[in-house]
């Protein structure tokens, strides 16, 4: 006879990963250039990460990224968009789609998070039939190399960081907490990781293009691990001034951090300049 209440397994957030998502990194992988002198130091920093994630075996990645005028142009500019579809095609960003597997969604979890997070006062836009660009696929490449099929399901979570203003760092951090609560309340035995992508310091436009701030990046990495609350006080102007106009993507890392425990263990850190125009940063944080 069954007891009156059955304890059901719920989803759990085990870890967070942050990394840059420079398109040239994807091209280096796709064209077999990862052992070139220029690219070796970038990819070397992910050797630990690939071993680590093979052991962690996450079921789902809640993947925070931004679309780069690929799907969302000026016709629709959602601040936060959650992918609720079954699967996602690889976008053609103007030079043909990357030769990587299509991305399989986690629609049950995504629809659940959508409802819970909106009820928690964060107004998400649900999207279904979207292609995903390098913002989402380069992180998968960095963590899983070149498999025949991605070994995880993905909930794409797109943030507008192109048309000013993006959401503030504070807003992103609080949203991460709300996403965490939503995942924690999903009735399925799932090991979920939350990834925050983009950054670190870089500027692609104007006479200031090529801007890199290694001191800022180092302080950002330290604070993200130990004092994310303090990072929430950075204004959007601070990011543009200190990390370059496109370094403002770093607010997305705060969604990941907000979804983790207050205390985390830093499992791995990697930093390298440059990948094309950008400082590459990478962190693996486990909940403790």
């Amino acid at each position: 006879m069954r007891p009156p209440t059955v304890a059901t397994a719920v989803a759990r957030v085990s870890a967070g990963v942050a990394m840059s998502h420079v398109p040239a990194i994807g091209a280096a992988s796709d064209l077999g250039k990862t052992d070139d002198d220029y690219w070796r130091p970038v990819f070397a920093g992910f050797e630990f990460s690939r071993r680590w994630i093979a052991q962690q075996r996450p079921d789902v990645i809640f993947l925070v990224y931004n679309d780069h005028a690929t799907v969302f142009d000026l016709n629709a500019i959602p601040t936060f968009a959650i992918g609720c579809g079954d699967e996602y095609e690889i976008a053609d960003e103007g030079w043909g789609p990357r030769p990587v597997p299509k991305v399989m969604g986690a629609p049950d979890l995504a629809w659940h998070v959508r409802q819970a997070v909106i009820q928690d006062d964060f107004d998400l836009t649900a999207v279904n039939n979207i292609a995903v660009d390098h913002g989402l696929t380069v992180p998968l490449t960095l963590m899983f190399d070149r498999p025949d099929a991605w070994p995880v399901l993905v909930v794409p979570f797109a943030v507008n960081v192109i048309v000013y203003p993006p959401p503030s760092g504070r807003r992103c951090f609080e949203l991460g907490k709300s996403v965490r609560k939503a995942i924690d309340s999903f009735d399925a035995d799932l090991n979920v990781q939350v990834w925050g992508t983009g950054g670190m310091s870089h500027q692609l436009q104007g006479p200031r293009a090529g801007f890199i701030n290694q001191d800022f990046d180092a302080r950002f990495l330290d604070a993200l691990v130990e004092e994310p609350e303090r990072l929430c006080r950075l204004s959007l102007i601070d990011y543009m001034r200190e990390a370059g106009s496109e370094g403002i993507e770093l607010v997305m890392w705060l969604i990941m951090r907000g979804a983790l425990n207050d205390k985390v263990t830093e499992m791995h850190r990697h930093y390298h300049v440059p990948a094309s125009n950008t400082a590459v940063g990478h962190l693996i944080l486990e909940n403790r």
Partner: protein, 153 residues
């Protein structure tokens, strides 16, 4: 009441805010059209005719024809959008970014490998103002010519 815009003093930087997005709407949507191969082909076959299909200002059209990216920034185009034009021209994002700094691609790449443009450079940029637009012969600068050669090769 005017919006608070505390970001006008970041040197060498155009913030793509509501005013710029409004100003550059058609310019940016033109760039989006270059995501399709058939449109890239049509554009390259007759750039002026293709641009005339879009309700852009003459200044914006001229800046596209001249590949004057710093001017395009002032006219409301955004780098992620006109990046589609880099690719249409067979040009990398690195080279596109370099072109806006007034540096040759080799020098820009060397700067990046040695750690990128330092924050201290903001002082120089603030006093220098915007660099002059790259000189182009009949809308075809030497770099553009090399790029076109590469694309066709």
């Amino acid at each position: 009441m005017a919006l608070d815009k505390p970001y006008g003093d970041i040197p060498g930087t155009t913030v793509f805010d509501s005013d710029m997005a409004r100003l550059g709407f058609h310019a940016n949507q033109f760039c989006m059209s270059l995501m399709k191969a058939e449109n890239r082909k049509r554009f390259l076959a007759d750039e002026r005719a293709y641009l005339d299909e879009w309700p852009m200002s003459e200044e914006q059209k001229k800046a596209f024809l001249d590949r004057n990216y710093n001017r395009l920034l002032e006219l409301g185009a955004n780098v992620y959008y006109f990046g589609k034009l880099f690719f249409t021209d067979g040009m990398s994002f690195e080279k596109g970014a370099a072109s806006m700094t007034g540096m040759a691609q080799d020098a820009y790449r060397a700067m990046m490998i040695s750690g990128g443009r330092r924050p201290e450079d903001d002082v120089r940029l603030a006093s220098a103002g915007r660099p002059k637009a790259p000189r182009r012969r009949s809308g075809q600068g030497p770099d553009a010519a090399a790029d076109r050669g590469n694309r066709r090769g």
